[in-house]
Symmetry: D2
Subunit: 118 residues, 4 copies
């Protein structure tokens, strides 16, 4: 899927895979957070962030599957993933589910950021 | 938007409007539930149901906007809306946000049920 | 992810994977169909069906990722996938993209149908 | 829904309404374009743009309904709406459906652009 006219070859398929994985882990982590209940006062904003991240990742994946190139959408996805990943990493550093989510979000933030040219 | 070959005229535009409204109220009620915290042990399943209901309503609205006719999708939407509306009505009968959500869900369940031929 | 109280073990993870793959192939096939242009008079309905199938598959995958169990949603997904797969198979039997799409749709229809208890 | 710390009052409800309307018109216009068939060689890219615009508008509306504030998502929505609106306006200046779509897209681009601080 070579879609750029430049010498740089972007890994769209890799970015699609990272977005799909991040979407999945965020949905599962939302469910996990519901079951665990409030951990601290930051929780409501954290759950909302997981919902945001799941949705923008799917939207961004769909754009790339359709072959659309909007750096702005990739940039927005990178920003939401970065915020969500950092939140997951800090809310409960010893929680395996949240750490898995943090890793998926930060990996996705990095690959989306590359395509967005950041 | 007369899409049926029968004598019955279905109100697709009305059903689309009910689905869009139900989607909106469910998303707002999810956010409200996060902020309020757990009320009782049913809460995690309730929040998940709000997420389910918001999504199937949007999907069903999109099908009808595209002019697609799948009674199965309308039937699935009616079922999820009915479950979500009944849950909202019973979790906190004196909570205005949840009662608004219950009304939107049950109205949507009724109009989707009509189109699904139930 | 054992979510059923019966002796039957449903493969939810397998069904999620089939839905995600079907969603992806349908989006790519829509784009392919745009580029190829109209093949026959059935084309507009066919493209709409691809959009429908992509969306209900993602919705159904998201329900299962959240751990929700709605047989009605799986049943609706099975019906749309079946219609889309049969259309893809008949529109252009010698077209590799459409045949790949037909296979993904019919595989997804089968696994969703199992979970829906059909 | 006062969500900004500044003196400027943003009309989030108005922006949500514009996004929902733009989503609806784009889906209907996609269907219309399928039925009309290719008008010119730009058509495949145009239909893809309608799909993109419908999706980012819904995503952006959902973010705001949840009470999330991501200027990056509003900015991405503004960019896609702007591209789609300009395309609709130029593809067929005498086509009522496309002109209605162009107006909805450009109105949404303007309100999203305001919230994005552009």
């Amino acid at each position: 899927m070579a879609k750029q006219q430049t010498d740089i070859v972007y890994d769209f398929d890799g970015c699609i895979a990272d977005c799909i994985e991040c979407h999945r882990v965020c949905l599962e982590t939302m469910e996990y957070c519901f079951r665990m209940g409030r951990r601290d006062h930051a929780a409501p904003a954290h759950i909302r962030l997981l919902a945001d991240c799941a949705q923008i990742c799917q939207t961004n994946a769909d754009f790339m599957m359709r072959g659309s190139e909007f750096q702005e959408v990739c940039a927005a996805c990178a920003e939401v993933c970065s915020r969500c990943g950092n939140d997951c990493a800090s809310v409960a550093p010893d929680d395996a589910q949240l750490q898995e989510c943090a890793e998926a979000c930060l990996r996705c933030a990095a690959t989306c950021g590359e395509i967005a040219g950041e």
